[in-house]
């Protein structure tokens, strides 16, 4: 297992370097000057030229890329052009907020999604099933900015039960977690339902039933274990995605997270910051996939055997 994990991590290093290189080239092909963007309507040609030179933005592409890579290998992701602060600091300061949002949204989606999926599968084609599936379809298809506004309006504006937006305590986390969790709960519920239905058709379930086990026992002890495998995989990847920043949710609820930083960096052509944010997201997604694979192997002995053969 350890070998497997190590190998996966080693393989991801060229992936990381490749991504920085692609990003670096792309950002230089796209028109746009960070200094001009910073100065907006007050831009004057002399000042832009001068500051560009002072910041070494006029150096050749290859020089800049190599010096970025060299610094990055030493743990230094450089300084944000616009915010004038070290990129690592910016990301690490924003990350706890994003982490909190991601974890609470993930919890909401699991706590809601898994039971709903199970109930729907067990009561297949019942009214409850249709209701739940309709509700999760709504969660999946409703754009976040819309559901956010709706919940803000009802719970903050009309009922005055929760704060509208901001980030000053756990109460502020409730609405964003529900908004974000709702959309992923939909995915999980639907996946849970179909996966459980599939498993319930298998022979060993019939055997369990034939043994005289009660239906709850059949589901919890036998069916669920297998049905959860694809769900867990999705969950791990989902969390990795959430951690690299829930852009819209962060903007609507004024959460100072990684997503906000990334979007700002894109629109202001803040190369060092964007490099850092993308690198960070890449690492998270790679780790998320790794965790998913490991969980997979824990849940499914067949995969474990396969891994042993590979290493």
């Amino acid at each position: 297992m350890l070998m497997f994990a190590l190998r996966r991590i080693l393989v991801s290093i060229p992936v990381l370097i490749g991504i920085t290189l692609i990003l670096f080239i792309m950002l230089n092909v796209v028109p746009g000057d960070p200094i001009a963007l910073m100065m907006k309507e007050h831009a004057s040609a002399d000042v832009i030229e001068r500051v560009r030179q002072q910041m070494h933005l006029d150096d050749p592409l290859i020089t800049r890329y190599l010096s970025f890579l060299w610094d990055a290998l030493h743990g230094d992701l450089g300084k944000s052009i616009k915010l004038n602060r070290p990129v690592t600091d910016l990301i690490l300061k924003a990350f706890p907020n994003t982490l909190m949002l991601a974890v609470s949204a993930a919890l909401v989606s699991w706590v809601v999604g898994i039971p709903v999926g199970i109930l729907s599968a067990v009561r297949r084609d019942s009214f409850l099933d249709r209701f739940f599936m309709g509700f999760s379809l709504l969660g999946v298809s409703m754009p976040i900015f819309w559901s956010a506004l709706l919940l803000q309006y009802v719970f903050a504006m009309k009922l005055r039960l929760l704060p509208v937006s901001g980030f000053y305590g756990w109460q502020y986390m409730i609405l964003p977690a529900i908004v974000l969790g709702w959309s992923s709960a939909g995915v999980i519920a639907r996946l849970m339902r179909s996966s459980l239905l599939e498993v319930m058709r298998l022979d060993y379930i019939r055997t369990a039933r034939a043994k005289g086990l009660r239906e709850t026992g059949v589901i919890t002890r036998h069916a669920l274990k297998n049905a959860l495998i694809p769900v867990v995989t999705i969950m791990a990847i989902q969390v990795a995605g959430l951690l690299s920043g829930a852009v819209i949710t962060e903007a609507i609820f004024s959460i100072p997270g990684v997503g906000r930083i990334t979007v700002n960096a894109i629109s202001s052509r803040d190369m060092p910051l964007l490099q850092g944010a993308v690198l960070f997201a890449t690492v998270l997604v790679i780790l998320g996939n790794l965790v998913a694979d490991i969980l997979y192997s824990v849940l499914d002995p067949r995969i474990r055997a396969q891994m042993r053969n590979e290493t």
Partner: protein, 527 residues
């Protein structure tokens, strides 16, 4: 749901209600649409709320009435200007202290302006100091100090200019000329203005907390030389989403709602019984305009430009898109600006415009492009669309070209940008801020080649140095006629009022003379 359950849920949820940040306190809660990045005004050209409240300037521009301002003594209690207009001598107020307790001296002023021009600072706001003798050498790195900056004694600063510049005092009252403390700022290095620990000024408020992309908290400076501010604290929240902004204001989590950040809410607030009495509105010394790139056909022909001017029904745009909250503008200088007099009204006359197009050789109409920047607010795309429809009547087939801001700025620099609409608000109360920005040789290059008249270039340079204010104003008025009527080099549209909605407890909220969102909160009170 059983009654018990309902009760449980209700009490549970009620327990979650959080008192919004310190309502009971003597604190004003305002918002900003994006993070200001820094309090160091030398490193920004647009986020001025922090600098205006944390620092002072030698001279201050005080709002004296709607759209009116006067230059009043700030850190300098008096000054003299030599007869040739080249030497300014400022006498500093004695006993002014920075937030860290250090006393203000002439050397701090010299240091501040030198720091801006020092290439190592990589400052963005250098334009305001380029009239000082030796500034160019310092910027280029060929000199270690600025020859035109001298501390004559502890409290006297002498500034020498390379040429007389009538707007120099007004410029020193702009946020960019905020004064720093030498020792503190030197030791803070490039971290100056980024955190409370590395920020120090003489202003009415002290920066106490700065959470990036979230908020800044400022606290009253008890020892402020003009007397302590009325507020104990000032909270600036970063709120990017305009719907969220309105919800925050309506749930009393914000005290000031700036309609500039959410213009579509204008009819709601003006029409609401609850809020209409709470609207605070004032004129803005700023002008909406179309800048026309004269390098691009068919706009190289003045008749086509003139036709474009006459084909736009400005009053309709003002009424429909901006709820009639403003006035038409016909010149380069908007009302409220020094030297302003009403210019010749531009007539809305599509039939005449069509004739002009025919005279210019386009009897069947002509295709033009209007630039639209995707990230700008929808008010700009709405304006482009309504103008696209309006000018069709005169025979213009207008295409709207959408690019992102970065691409637009790049294109504007190389002269590739299309005609675009934007707004310019006064940084300082002088016509030079408008004429030089748009119609000087260098300015017009940056603005997308919207002027190509060498005589205007020369006259603008002359006007900068004139010391006879009446003659100078006359020249600007003549230039207005030349630029707008003769050359039709730009299309003045209108100036808008700036409206805010404030909670009932907010008192003394005055819209600043220039109509900026960024202002000093020194005199504002909350009950």
């Amino acid at each position: 749901m059983s009654k018990k359950m309902k009760l449980l849920l209700a009490t549970g949820l009620a327990g979650l209600v959080l008192a919004s940040p310190a309502l009971a306190e003597n604190m004003l809660r305002i918002s900003y649409p994006e993070d200001p990045k820094t309090a160091d005004v030398q490193m920004t050209t647009d986020a001025y709320t922090l600098p205006l409240n944390i620092f002072d300037r030698l001279v201050e521009s005080e709002t004296t009435g709607p759209g009116q301002s006067a230059l009043v003594p700030g850190l300098a209690e008096s000054w003299e200007v030599s007869d040739d207009g080249l030497t300014y001598t400022f006498h500093l107020r004695a006993g002014v202290r920075f937030h860290d307790g250090a006393e203000l001296t002439a050397d701090d002023v010299v240091y501040t302006f030198d720091r801006m021009l020092n290439p190592a600072t990589k400052a963005l706001n250098t334009d305001i100091l380029t009239f000082i003798a030796g500034s160019q050498e310092r910027l280029d790195g060929t000199a270690d100090s600025v020859s035109g900056l001298k501390a004559l004694d502890e409290l006297t600063v002498q500034i020498t200019l390379t040429q007389p510049y009538a707007a120099f005092l007004a410029l020193l009252a702009s946020p960019g000329a905020s004064v720093y403390d030498r020792d503190f700022t030197e030791s803070a290095g490039d971290q100056f203005g980024l955190t409370p620990e590395t920020t120090n000024g003489t202003g009415p408020f002290i920066l106490r907390d700065y959470t990036l992309n979230d908020s800044q908290m400022l606290e009253a400076n008890e020892d402020y030389w003009r007397g302590r501010p009325k507020l104990d604290r000032l909270l600036v929240r970063v709120v990017a989403d305009s719907e969220t902004l309105r919800l925050l204001f309506e749930t009393d989590e914000l005290d000031v709602f700036d309609l500039d950040y959410a213009p579509t809410q204008t009819p709601y607030f003006y029409g609401s019984d609850q809020w209409k009495e709470q609207v605070r509105s004032g004129p803005r010394v700023g002008i909406y305009y179309y800048a026309i790139n004269q390098l691009k056909k068919p706009f190289d022909d003045a008749r086509v430009r003139k036709a474009f001017q006459m084909a736009i029904d400005r009053q309709t745009i003002l009424d429909k898109n901006f709820y009639g909250k403003g006035m038409l503008e016909d010149g380069v200088m908007p009302r409220g600006l020094a030297c302003y007099t009403p210019a010749t009204p531009i007539e809305y006359n599509p039939a005449r415009a069509r004739e002009l197009l025919a005279e210019a050789g386009y009897p069947d109409g002509v295709e033009i492009n209007l630039q639209q920047v995707s990230s700008w607010s929808t008010k700009w795309s709405d304006m482009n669309q309504i103008i696209q429809a309006q000018v069709a009547e005169a025979g213009f087939k207008a295409n709207i070209v959408v690019t992102d801001e970065a691409a637009f700025l790049a294109a504007r620099k190389t002269g590739e940008a299309e005609a675009y609409t934007q707004v310019w608000s006064a940084d300082f109360n002088d016509p030079d801020n408008f004429f030089y920005t748009f119609f000087s040789e260098s300015g017009s290059k940056v603005r997308g080649y919207n002027n190509n008249d060498p005589e205007v270039f020369a006259a603008i340079e002359t006007a900068r140095g004139m010391t006879d204010q009446a003659a100078r104003c006359k020249l600007y008025q003549d230039l207005t006629a030349r630029i707008v009527d003769t050359d039709a080099a730009w299309v003045p549209l209108f100036s808008l009022d700036h409206s805010y909605v404030v909670q009932a407890r907010v008192k003394n909220f005055v819209v600043p003379w220039n109509g900026w969102s960024d202002m000093s909160y020194y005199k504002v009170e909350v009950e």
